[in-house]
């Protein structure tokens, strides 16, 4: 019995893989298992290769991914060619026997570089470039086990049984994948039925057909191949779990946090969050309304942030959600929010950059940008989250801080988190606090930028006040003022908020250190590096090395004192930045703020997540003296 299984499910974009992953996640969750699943796909709507990399655990909610996997389920030949090296010895590959004679050199969707590598690989081994020849080789040399199914035949049987046309039948291709996972893991059909019912609520026929194929395929697999990766019963012990993507959990948090206005311009990987929010716009629970949520698609990102700031001036909690190219356009208005001390939250999902970069891939290369974006100086909060639950609480924190300090808040997430599905315990709503800062509703001669208090009172437009605001330097009323001494006072008032926030925001919201006594090597990272780093700490124990991890969460105000107190205990050569960017940006900020150099780095910028296996290998290389290790695993 296994306590952890990892799976790869691959196939062309647009063929139902995403919903397979959702169904499998919910099915496993139904049985109490923890899930973590990453989705990798091209910037393409249909036809290019995509895959799900999923970790299922009976002991915990998995927080990272690693290679090799036990099971690869391939919807097409491209998947086999792309991933055969990702499967462990003795692992299983499920494939379509009708593709046996397919050649890697003739699949048009395979990118030229991979095609070249495959060619080189095959020619080195003296193989022909067919699936058949590859299988033969893997079976004999790598001891991989193969489950060959005739997908077209299965689909045609379905068509006949339910009298579907071929187009309709092909939509069930992904269920063959689900069915084979069910067959190979012994996942209970009840659980799958539950998952289908939840995923396709109300579409009874669809559920039925799917369930039929899944059962049919799983039987075929079980009986025909007799391979079983049986998971031990779950020991996690939760009655309920949340199963959600990062995008979705942020949407839920915004609703809990009292969001009333979200503006956005579509962009990957942020747009799904707004879509989810829109489905909840009525804020209704059992027919009763808790308010209204305006979700508005604007003509561009400038309009998105400007209208969010406008809404905030009217007195609602407001946010916009975007990714790099969109944020680049928001920069001018960000500075305006800073200057007029307007609360606003920007949920920022990083993706492969620069420029259009890798729109559907991950990265963490926008940190320094967010810290200094927009001309001039003004206080801002830059807050990042390392996993789904952090993202939940941080989203609400972001809303609170923006209103409490009258500052723009940039909540930094990334594509890895946005698009990965994870099980988590339900967030503890009863621990959530809403802090709207100090407001005033009635005041003659209201001074919006009152210099007599460190954080000025805010009034809603439409309350019993009159207020002005200007991006120009202004007086206490908000009128333009060019007087040099007023300039100094206003400037200092704004900038002092950085110190105030630094003194008031608890350091545990800003930074966490994981590590016991005797730590030899400290990883310094942030965002979705967290999961891999924590699992690497465990894995490094096998090498007899105690590692630690400093998880940076808030970069502005930077937790200088706390970071200093931790890192100054170590020698610079025992500090290693682990980041999804080239420059090791967070470590630059550590140096800038504390003077402490982080001398080593492990970085990855292929657009794929950091896997525990490669991180562990890299840590060992660092221990052997390497200063910089660049990771590149993953298709």
């Amino acid at each position: 019995m296994w306590d952890n299984i990892s799976l790869l499910l691959g196939g062309p974009q647009g063929s139902g893989l995403e919903s397979s992953a959702q169904v499998l996640s919910k099915a496993f969750a139904r049985l109490g298992y923890g899930i973590f699943a990453d989705r990798e796909y091209f910037s393409n709507i249909k036809g290019r290769h995509s895959y799900i990399h999923m970790n299922v655990s009976s002991r915990r909610h998995p927080i990272s991914l690693s290679y090799p996997v036990q099971i690869l389920c391939a919807m097409d030949a491209e998947t086999v060619f792309t991933h055969f090296q990702d499967v462990e010895e003795n692992g299983v590959i499920v494939y379509d026997v009708s593709t046996l004679s397919t050649r890697s050199s003739t699949i048009p969707s395979i990118e030229p570089k991979l095609r070249e590598r495959l060619k080189a690989y095959f020619s080195e081994l003296g193989l022909s470039d067919t699936i058949q020849s590859l299988i033969r080789y893997l079976r004999s040399v790598k001891k991989i086990r193969f489950v060959g199914l005739d997908y077209p035949k299965i689909l045609s049987e379905i068509s006949q049984k339910f009298t579907l046309n071929p187009g309709q039948a092909s939509r069930y291709l992904s269920s063959i994948i689900v069915g084979s996972v069910v067959g190979l893991t012994g996942l209970k059909l009840d659980a799958v039925g539950y998952a289908l019912a939840s995923r396709f609520a109300g579409r009874q026929q669809l559920i039925e057909h799917n369930l039929f194929i899944i059962e049919y395929v799983s039987e075929t697999v079980r009986e025909g191949f007799r391979i079983l990766y049986e998971l031990e019963p779950s020991k996690i012990g939760l009655e309920k779990m949340l199963v959600a993507s990062g995008n979705d959990i942020v949407a839920m948090a915004k609703i809990v946090g009292g969001l009333r206005f979200q503006s956005y311009y579509p962009i990957t990987p942020a747009a799904d969050e707004s879509f989810t929010l829109e489905t909840f716009e009525r804020l209704e629970v059992e027919g009763e309304s808790l308010g209204s949520l305006i979700v508005t698609q604007t003509e561009d990102e400038i309009a998105a942030i400007a209208s969010a700031i406008g809404a905030s001036l009217s007195g609602v909690r407001s946010a916009t959600s975007t990714s790099g190219p969109g944020f680049s356009l928001m920069v001018e208005a960000l500075g305006y929010a800073g200057q007029i001390e307007a609360p606003v939250v920007i949920t920022y999902y990083q993706r492969g950059a620069p420029s259009t970069g890798q729109p559907t891939r991950g990265g963490q290369s926008d940190l320094l940008f967010t810290l200094y974006a927009s001309h001039g100086e003004f206080p801002r909060v830059v807050l990042s989250s390392g996993d789904h639950l952090e993202a939940f609480y941080d989203t609400i924190l972001a809303l609170n801080l923006s209103e409490k300090y009258n500052v723009p808040v940039i909540h930094l997430l990334d594509k890895f988190l946005a698009n990965s599905i994870a099980t988590t315990p339900l967030p503890e709503i009863r621990k959530v606090v809403i802090d709207r800062g100090k407001t005033v509703f009635e005041k003659p001669d209201f001074k919006r930028f009152d210099l007599s208090r460190p954080i000025s009172l805010r009034a809603f437009l439409g309350s019993n006040t009159i207020q002005w605001a200007a991006g120009d330097e202004h007086d206490e009323f908000g009128h333009i003022d060019e007087d040099p001494l007023n300039r100094r006072e206003m400037y200092e008032k704004r900038m002092k908020k950085i110190e105030i926030m630094d003194s008031e925001i608890p350091s545990e919201n800003r930074c966490m250190f994981f590590g016991q006594d005797g730590v030899k090597l400290v990883m310094v990272g942030w965002g979705s590096v967290k999961g891999a780093a924590l699992d690497a700490i465990e894995a490094m124990k096998a090498y007899g090395v105690r590692c630690g991890y400093l998880h940076l969460k808030m970069f502005s105000p930077f937790p200088t004192e706390y970071v200093k107190s931790i890192l100054s205990k170590f020698r610079p050569e025992n500090l290693v930045a682990v980041e999804h960017n080239y420059l090791a940006q967070a470590s630059k900020l550590v140096t800038q703020n504390t003077g402490i150099l982080v001398e080593k780095s492990i970085v990855k910028y292929t657009g794929r997540p950091i896997y525990v296996n490669e991180l562990v290998r890299a840590l060992n290389r660092v221990l052997e003296g390497e200063r910089r290790v660049v990771l590149e695993y993953g298709a």
């Binding site: 139904r30 109490g32 009840d190 659980a191 539950y194 779950s234 009655e239 309920k240 199963v243 959600a244 839920m252 809990v256 009292g258 009333r260 206005f261 909840f280 716009e281 009525r282 804020l283 629970v285 309304s289 308010g291 209204s292 305006i294 604007t298 561009d300 400038i302 309009a303 400007a306 209208s307 700031i309 406008g310 809404a311 905030s312 001036l313 009217s314 007195g315 609602v316 001018e332 208005a333 609400i396 099980t423 339900l426 503890e428 709503i429 009863r430 959530v432 606090v433 809403i434 709207r436 809603f460 437009l461 439409g462 006040t465 009159i466 002005w468 200007a470 991006g471 009128h479 333009i480």
Partner: protein, 313 residues
């Protein structure tokens, strides 16, 4: 208390050039506000950057002086979050038809109840007189190094094609007439646009008061009927477009008004019944103890679809 035009004045010094057309606009605004007895706390002027952008500081209602070209989109958020506010946008021709052109047109698509006042002086005033998008090709105003090389836009036609439901032109030196247009625009429900001919005495030596005096005439005097009646929407629009291309004589007045189109607020209200019932800013989001209105139970109900009940084994 009855408010007089003077009650809408702030004591900020008006630092426009002596003789600037903006003074006429400001005077019309004060008068319009007084005529409508607008509640200053419930009225918002949103402006861009330019000489025109300074307007809010001179008016004692809420004033949000935003970024160059972006007044409309800030106003959009302000209005959507609180649809009972009276929201006016004041911008220059560079502001609204140069850098902000995309937003100007997008507002037509929305028919959100915002009133856009274009201070149309055909130059970039505050940056010292460059050609603006309403300056015709070949003209060389005072501070251009070369005659204008780009063709001009027709703001009225653009507004009509974009979907504005109230489209008018006024002239800053005819302040009473302009006041009437502003009043009508504010009373109109939906996106309203007034192209205000505004002499810039410092940089525009072509479109002077003299120039306009000779050309301006009143649409009303020609028996123009701008109002759409059931069924003649398209015809009314075409006629108005055509009219807007007159250049030798310049018509002022209301070109077009359509009261049949739903505003964006109404559309949202239809979709989300509670939106217009309790305005978003006054909706409760937390309890007195600082906890959210959500509790664990409400959370589970609302997000049921994301929650998996683990099967007892």
């Amino acid at each position: 208390m009855v408010r007089s035009p003077n009650d809408y004045r702030t004591d900020v010094w008006v630092d426009w050039c002596p003789g600037c057309g903006n003074y006429g606009i400001l005077a019309a605004l004060y008068k319009a506000f007084a005529e409508l007895q607008l509640d200053p706390t419930n009225t918002v002027i949103v402006s861009g950057i330019g000489c025109s952008g300074k307007t809010p500081h001179f008016v004692k209602v809420n004033g949000i002086h935003t970024l160059h070209g972006r007044a409309i989109v800030f106003a959009t958020g302000i209005k959507l979050a609180n649809p009972t506010l009276t929201v006016l946008v004041h911008g220059g021709d560079g502001d609204l038809l140069g850098i902000g052109l995309g937003h100007f047109i997008a507002l037509g698509r929305k028919n959100l109840d915002i009133k856009v006042m274009l201070h149309d002086n055909r130059v970039y005033g505050l940056t010292k007189g460059q050609a603006s998008p309403t300056l015709s090709k070949g003209l060389k105003t005072k501070s251009l190094a070369q005659p204008n090389i780009l063709s001009s836009l027709n703001p009225i036609a653009l507004a009509l094609v974009s979907g504005y439901t109230f489209v008018a032109r006024g002239y800053s030196m005819l302040s009473e007439h302009l006041k009437n247009l502003i009043v009508a625009a504010i009373k109109h429900k939906g996106s309203a646009f007034i192209d205000i001919l505004q002499p810039c005495v410092t940089y525009n030596d072509i479109h002077t008061p003299e120039y306009y005096r000779k050309r301006v005439y009143f649409l009303e005097e020609e028996g123009w009927s701008p109002k759409v009646e059931e069924g003649n929407e398209i015809d009314k629009m075409f006629n108005a477009i055509r009219k807007s291309f007159e250049v030798e004589r310049i018509p002022i007045g209301i070109f077009y008004q359509n009261t049949f189109k739903q505003t964006l607020e109404e559309s949202y209200g239809q979709r989300i019944p509670s939106y217009l019932k309790t305005l978003p800013p006054w909706q409760k989001i937390l309890k007195d103890d600082g906890s959210p209105i959500f509790d664990d139970t409400l959370f589970e109900k609302m997000f049921n679809e994301y929650i998996v009940k683990v099967e007892k084994s």
